[in-house]
């Protein structure tokens, strides 16, 4: 057999055409200008006819490539989508996919670099809280299927000898993350959730689902096309800069988050780094009287136990 297109060249050419941001025909013309393809290459590779020329056939794949990934990112970032509005989100995703095409076989990882990308994107510079909102949403999505671990219970804690408690080190459960944001994204998230809830109640809709179907069995998903509908203009949220620590965790199958003060965040960071309980208590006590420090430590630590953040004891000195 002798063909102009070996398998690798055929796949590379196909890929370049279906991912050209301006579409297959303009993408092909750009390749001709760059002398990366010959004028007859497209028709030599793909059979076309009067009904559907070769470029139109490839356009089917090109559209589905983009809208499938757009749909996936919309599922991972529902609040970001709502905050941006469909048009800005569409443009953001276009830029993101050009910079970060998917490199993992699972769509689950597609959005992992969007928060950092958004921070340096014109949209993120215009509305900086969006990158923090994206960080919060990604972390929530990421913990949805993080590894399971049995959390430490009050009863197990009560069995620890009092005299050596200060030297005990605990591990955090795998489905836990600490975020340090530059904006109060949790407040924005809550405001949007409340708004969505009120709207859903008015429309008689049900609760929001946990997680989403990542891959479908279809080569093409029609659902993706619905995103293309023009939406109403959306005013971007205006949130002043405000350092905000957030703990995000999963209990059972439900992901939670809560804004916390800097001392609690430091305490969790120390705990995650393997520091003993005494060192954590010291950080939480900072600037307080002995009585207040004890009360503060007890309340915060009990909150960690009740929320299932601690996986168990790792070692003692």
């Amino acid at each position: 057999m002798s063909t102009a297109f070996g398998l690798k060249r055929a796949q590379t050419f196909f890929w370049d055409l279906i991912t050209a941001p301006e579409g297959v025909r303009p993408g092909f013309e750009a390749m001709l200008r760059r002398v990366e393809a010959g004028p007859s290459d497209l028709d030599q590779l793909i059979e076309g006819d009067e009904r559907l020329p070769a470029a139109d056939r490839l356009d089917i794949y090109a559209n589905m490539y983009f809208y499938r990934l757009l749909d996936c990112l919309r599922e991972d970032y529902p609040r970001l989508f709502e905050a941006c509005g469909p048009d800005r989100f569409h443009n953001l995703v276009t830029d993101y996919l050009l910079r970060h095409p998917s490199e993992h076989p699972s769509l689950r990882h597609l959005g992992s670099r969007l928060p950092a990308f958004l921070e340096n994107h014109p949209l993120g510079r215009e509305c900086p809280v969006l990158a923090d909102l994206a960080r919060l949403e990604w972390t929530r999505a990421d913990l949805f299927d993080a590894a399971d671990a049995a959390p430490l219970t009050r009863e197990e804690l009560a069995r620890l000898p009092q005299e050596t408690a200060g030297s005990v080190r605990f591990a955090l459960v795998p489905a836990f993350a600490l975020l340090r944001l530059a904006h109060d994204a949790p407040r924005l998230w809550t405001e949007m959730k409340e708004r969505a809830k009120a709207q859903a109640a008015g429309e008689g809709a049900g609760a929001e689902p946990d997680g989403h179907e990542i891959h479908s069995g279809a080569g093409m998903a029609a659902e993706t096309c619905r995103l293309h509908a023009e939406g109403p203009a959306v005013d971007l949220p205006r949130f002043p800069r405000r350092d905000t620590a957030v703990r995000v965790w999963r209990r059972g199958f439900v992901v939670y988050h809560r804004a916390i003060d800097a001392e609690e965040a430091d305490g969790l960071e120390l705990l995650g780094a393997g520091e003993p309980l005494a060192r954590i208590a010291q950080r939480l006590a900072a600037g307080r009287s002995a009585a207040r420090a004890t009360e503060r430590f007890g309340r915060v630590f009990q909150g960690w136990i009740d929320d299932g953040l601690l996986a168990g004891q790792t070692e003692s000195d």
Binding site: M1, T3, F5, G6, L7, K8, A10, Q11, T12, F14, W15, I18, T19, Q44, L45, I46, E47, R51, L52, A54, D56, R57, L58, I60, Y61, M64, Y65, R68, L69, P101, S102, E103, H104, P105, S106, L107, L110, L143, F144, D145, A146, A147, D148, P174, A175, P209, G211, E213, I214, H215, S216, G217, A218, G219, M220, A221, A222, E223, R250, F253
Partner: protein, 288 residues
């Protein structure tokens, strides 16, 4: 000596549907009219949480089949070893009746299309795919089945029709065939070939499973959307497929605008009725 992974037709499981998140609670909360379920492998390659919990409970109740979308068996990229590790781990957890993916490519240059892109049907592609199927089967310690995809393009330099290519991959690599009846119909309409010629071109003993799904008519072409009931011409083609291939595990896929579970059960029951009627027709001839 390499292990023998020659495809042996697996047992007939009956009539199944693809497991989707919308139906988790319904399926796990009581009896269904479904014999078995197919999971999308990638959706359960998780470290923990609800996906693995659901998987564990499903495994206790139903026979499961793993169906992947990202093996990229026809890609010129190297096989993704991390993906294969995940697939092996998942198979150990699920103990599926069989494992399938698609005869296509989904990635090139390290970039993923997350779409089932068609191959040119050339001798080069054949050798490439066969070697990779053999490698995957070695990793999994069992033969796999490959599914024909819907397509919207055909390559001018293809040397044989798709069904001949599929049959030859199965023969050389010793893998099974997951025959998607809707995909045959969609591609036949898009490319103008006879769908019955496709069925006739596939060896009878290589087919492990049928897929049935709905598609959308876009005017100039049909699109494989899995968001409608199975179309009447596809039911007709399914009947022809049962006539040719005999008792074959059949699965309904529905991935978008997902209806209530009883709608899927009704589609599965329709498949069961067609399958049963044709096998009953054929039975006297077999006896004679």
């Amino acid at each position: 000596m390499p292990a023998d992974h020659t495809a042996r037709r697996p047992p007939f499981l009956g009539h199944g549907v693809g497991l989707r998140r919308d139906h988790f609670e319904r399926v796990l909360s009581g009896p269904t009219r479904i014999d078995w379920f197919e999971i999308i492998s990638e959706n359960f390659m998780a470290a923990g949480g609800k996906p693995l919990d659901v998987l564990g409970r499903m495994r206790d109740r139903y026979p499961l089949v793993m169906h992947g979308v990202s093996l990229s068996i026809g890609s010129t990229d190297p096989l993704d070893e991390r993906y294969l590790d995940d697939l092996v781990r998942l198979a150990e957890r699920v103990q599926p009746a069989w494992i399938s993916d698609h005869l296509c490519w989904t990635s090139v240059g390290g970039h993923q299309a997350h779409d089932l892109l068609p191959l040119p049907y050339t001798e080069e592609a054949l050798g490439h795919v066969v070697a990779r199927v053999q490698r995957v089967q070695e990793r999994l310690g069992r033969p796999i089945a490959l599914e024909n995809v819907s397509s919207y393009v055909a390559y001018r330099h293809s040397q044989v029709p798709e069904w001949e290519f599929l049959a030859e991959v199965s023969r050389r690599a010793g893998c099974g065939i997951l025959l998607d009846v809707n995909n045959i119909y969609v591609s036949a309409r898009n490319h103008g070939f006879d769908p019955n010629a496709y069925l006739e071109g596939v060896p009878q003993d290589a087919v492990w499973q049928f897929h049935l799904a709905g598609h959308s008519d876009k005017g100039l072409y049909l699109l494989d959307t899995h968001d409608h009931p199975v179309a009447d011409p596809v039911w007709d083609l399914y009947a022809a497929a049962v006539r040719r291939f005999g008792a074959t595990s059949t699965l309904i896929e529905w991935d978008d605008r997902i209806p209530a579970f009883d709608r899927l059960e009704a589609e599965s029951e329709r498949a069961r009725a067609i399958h049963g009627a044709i096998l009953a027709e054929a039975a006297p001839a077999v006896v004679a």
